[in-house]
């Protein structure tokens, strides 16, 4: 009986626990400093977080949004955690990827990171997880900044842990760009705070409308700065220059985790501000960003895809493809009718799943062959059939073939574009899929049809601890491509709710 009661009390405090658990376990890992313990505890925590975000999402679907005031101070005086369907969905994405990559970490981290540094590495990983979850859960504009910095600082370190010296350089460049982005965000929040006097996102939204009359200019400038700052963080074209190197040189475990989560959480923040804060206060017709975002997204989709075609390293190719896929998401946000927005939100998750799968497969290739250069992995499919089959599944999902997750999101985005009367955009999306066919096709050709390269003649399937996450991710890619009731329902509910907050 008392156990039930305790569980009930805990579920009441779930929002706080989701953020604090990784924080505490990170400090525990750093205090104990034993390699295997660090991995075991991180894995345990990641799976606990995964299950608690499932519980949280179910609870929110049944009972509606949850507000949790930290320190017992009611908002706007204290910091508030506001979890609605959308944030719970993003929490679930982050924590599920965080949990899925943990078994994968065991062997790759052993290989990539010196034994003495492993506990600290896992500590930093947990802090990164904590920062990302905190960004998705908090309802306070400045608290977002604090968690953004926790996640960014840990990301810089994680990237710098790469084997090659270029990793240091990309980490440094990311540090410069990321800090500029965060500072621009703080400037924007500061301007909003000066004219509203509040930091709580929902309180700002309420007070923004009345203060627009007197302070039109600062509000618009604040909005521009917030959007510019977040765009740097989410690598919106043409602010994407940091991303390909960062993903290509980081340890493969880090790349999988970051590619699936880091930019997605930034997109979540963008959506939060776009719909729940500015959209709720200012009629959209007065926000002149829609056309700009559509143009930039189309440019991202085409330019990044074309660059991806000419890349020689698979990791960089996939990184450029990430920039293109982010373009799809921002496109859906800009069209912002119900279908397109649902498509954008599903694509957050779907792209997370398929990019994690692709990078996991590339990580396995690097683990066994030692390189991911196209020129030296010819005929690898005969040596690593399961890994390459998983890669193929991820590849056709990137292209958007039916029965994969990639198709679902593109379908919603396309229907959204058509509903909005934007036929050319729907056609452009189809054309861009053809470019994806080229770059995925290049890899498939080399791997399946070229003679076996001498470098990978000794290669074999990766160890089971790496193979299981790869297989799970490829099953997810197909399962959520066929059985859409789960993802699409939640996403459309989230989209409905976001659009419901917008002032008409």
């Amino acid at each position: 009986m008392s156990v039930v009661k305790e569980v009930f009390i805990l579920s009441e405090h779930l929002p706080a626990l989701i953020v604090v658990t990784p924080m505490i376990s990170a400090s525990l890992v750093a205090m104990v400093r034993c390699g295997f313990f660090a991995w075991a505890l991180s894995t345990f925590v990641a799976w606990v977080l995964f299950s608690s975000s499932v519980v949280l999402l179910i609870k929110i679907i049944n009972d509606g949004a949850v507000s949790y005031s930290l320190g017992g101070w009611p908002p706007p005086f204290g910091i508030e955690f506001r979890v609605d369907i959308f944030s719970a969905f993003v929490l679930l994405l982050v924590s599920s990827i965080g949990a899925l990559v943990m078994p994968y970490a065991l062997r790759t981290v052993e290989k990539d990171i010196h034994a003495e540094n492993q506990p600290w590495f896992y500590c930093i990983y947990l802090l990164c997880l904590c920062g990302l979850l905190g960004m998705a859960i908090t309802g306070d504009a400045f608290n977002v900044f604090v968690f953004m910095e926790i996640s960014s600082l840990s990301t810089y370190v994680l990237i710098a842990m790469g084997q090659r010296r270029e990793a240091l350089l990309s980490a440094y460049q990311y540090l410069i760009v990321g800090t500029i982005g965060a500072t621009l965000y703080v400037i924007g929040v500061g301007l909003l705070y000066i004219v509203t006097g509040s930091l709580n996102l929902y309180d700002i939204a309420e007070r923004l409308g009345p203060s627009m009359a007197d302070y039109h200019r600062p509000v618009m400038t604040g909005m521009a700065f917030i959007f510019a700052g977040i765009s740097l963080k989410l690598a919106l074209f043409p602010l994407h220059a940091w991303l390909p190197n960062a993903y290509a040189f980081a340890p493969s475990f880090v790349t999988i985790f970051l590619s699936a989560t880091a930019t997605k959480v930034s997109i979540y923040i963008l959506l939060r501000f776009y719909f729940s804060v500015f959209g709720a206060a200012i009629p959209f017709s007065q926000i002149p960003v829609t056309e700009i975002i559509i143009l930039l997204s189309l440019a991202a989709i085409f330019v990044a895809s074309v660059i991806a075609v000419y890349e020689d390293r698979i990791a960089r190719m996939l990184a450029y493809s990430s920039v293109a896929q982010i373009g799809y998401i921002t496109l859906g946000i800009a069209i912002s009718n119900e279908y397109a927005l649902t498509g954008a939100i599903i694509h957050l998750v779907n792209h997370g799943i398929m990019k994690a799968l692709l990078f996991a497969a590339v990580g396995a290739i690097i683990f066994r062959v030692g390189t991911d250069k196209l020129s030296s992995i010819g005929g690898l499919a005969s040596r690593m059939p399961i890994t390459m089959a998983a890669f193929l599944i991820g590849g056709i999902s990137i292209i958007g073939v039916p029965s994969t997750v990639g198709f679902i999101s593109k379908w919603y985005l396309g229907v959204g574009a058509v509903n909005a009367g934007l036929w050319p955009i729907a056609l452009a999306m189809m054309a861009s899929s053809l470019i994806a066919v080229i770059y995925i096709g290049r890899i498939v050709e080399v791997v399946y049809f070229n003679p076996v390269d001498q470098r990978c003649s000794g290669a074999e399937e990766p160890p089971l601890s790496m193979l299981v996450p790869i297989i799970l991710l490829s099953i997810a890619t197909i399962y959520f491509g066929l059985e859409t009731s789960w993802t699409a329902d939640v996403a459309s509910k989230a989209a409905e709710q976001l659009l419901g907050e917008v002032k008409q």
Binding site: V146, R165, L168, A171, L175, V186, Y193
Partner: protein, 131 residues
């Protein structure tokens, strides 16, 4: 005198913007990694002025309550900027640690020199592969 006062009232924001712009310029133009971080620090520091200036009330006092005063400046921006200072020094330390490691790995901290070497290396490896 009136003119002086108007200028003085707008001076805070003017200087804030100047510092921001200059900091950003140093970050973007300077090839030296240490100086780049100095520019970044300037950019971050200018935000303190943006937050603290509007918190001030002329004739008010610091927000430490006492029966002798009744007008206090706004304490909330002060708290936010304490956090920002901490974040700033964290970023700086991390950036400098990266610079030290880059210097060990490449033997220089000038960005353009590193890029030049990298392109030379690329040429060399291509030659090797062709042979």
């Amino acid at each position: 005198m009136q003119l002086f006062e108007t200028i003085a009232l707008h001076y805070n924001y003017a200087v804030t913007i100047f510092l921001m712009v200059l900091g950003l310029y140093i970050v973007m133009v300077c090839g030296n990694m240490i100086k780049k971080l100095v520019g970044l620090a300037l950019f971050q520091t200018s935000v303190y002025l943006l937050y603290i200036s509007p918190a001030k009330i002329i004739g008010g006092t610091a927000p430490i309550l006492d029966s002798k005063f009744s007008l206090y400046s706004n304490p909330l921006p002060h708290v936010l900027m304490l956090t920002a200072i901490v974040v700033g020094v964290g970023t700086l330390a991390l950036g400098l640690a990266l610079v030290v490691r880059i210097n060990e790995a490449y033997g220089t901290i000038e960005e353009d020199e590193i890029l030049k070497r990298r392109s030379e290396e690329n040429l060399n490896t291509e030659k090797v592969e062709k042979v």
